[in-house]
């Protein structure tokens, strides 16, 4: 759902001079299929072993009882992610300015809560307004 919602704002994001990338630990054969299925026009990048997510300090290890539950659903992190340690990132969306500084950060420990795409657009608009004022 979140990827479709991001696709929904992507033309406005581009009109604001910005871009979107989605990072996931999923292997390329899965990102390729997902990208095609959802007709996405931004990139999904494979953050192998969550190395970049770790640098953003978003990674946690699933407790044993949750591993068992996901296994019973037929999910397999080791298959999709080549991730034997059962780690995942918490959901997060960042807006980074062209100098590499984080200007908006939405991070949630509850995976059923996601930032609204409209908030991301507002952050990009504010960035553009500020840039104009400085210039």
């Amino acid at each position: 759902m979140e990827l479709e919602a991001l696709q929904g704002i992507y033309s406005e994001v581009k009109a604001l001079g910005a871009q979107i990338v989605v990072l996931t630990a999923e292997l390329e054969r899965y990102t390729r299929a997902l990208h095609k299925k959802l007709n996405l026009t931004f990139d999904i990048l494979t953050d192998l072993y969550l190395k970049t997510a770790e640098q953003f300090r978003l990674v946690y290890v699933l407790p044993d009882y949750l591993r068992e539950l996901y296994r019973s659903f037929g999910n397999a992190l080791d298959r999709f992610h080549d991730e034997p340690e059962f780690r995942l990132p918490i959901p997060a969306r960042y807006v980074i300015d062209k100098h590499g500084i984080i200007r908006a950060a939405d991070v949630s420990a509850d995976y059923t809560i996601r930032p609204e795409p409209s908030d991301t657009l507002n952050a990009l608009r504010a960035l553009k307004t500020n840039a104009r004022q400085v210039a």
Partner: protein, 88 residues
């Protein structure tokens, strides 16, 4: 289309109702609630990088096996980086 969170909330309601197609049991729902509560209590979300921090650089392969470098993207303008836990 409605906003994203309302659609997520609707999905959560359907899942937690125990009805098909998910047929989630009470035990499954309780386990997921426990995990979320523990993760919130861990304070991880507060340790994540925040506004004003310098974003780490990355160079990763996209779905077509083309290497994408964050520094190259940032030269063109601001960048939205969204972390996605997976499609499963």
């Amino acid at each position: 289309m409605g906003n994203l969170q309302s659609r997520l909330d609707e999905f959560k309601r359907e899942f937690e109702s125990g009805a098909p197609p998910y047929n989630a049991t009470h035990e499954v729902i309780e386990t997921m609630h426990r995990a979320t509560a523990e993760l919130e209590a861990s304070g991880l979300a507060n340790k994540a990088l925040k506004i004003g921090d310098r974003a780490p650089r990355f160079s990763l392969f996209n779905q077509d096996h083309v290497e994408v470098n964050s520094a190259d993207l940032l030269r063109q303008g601001p960048l939205v980086v969204s972390f996605f836990r997976g499609h499963w």
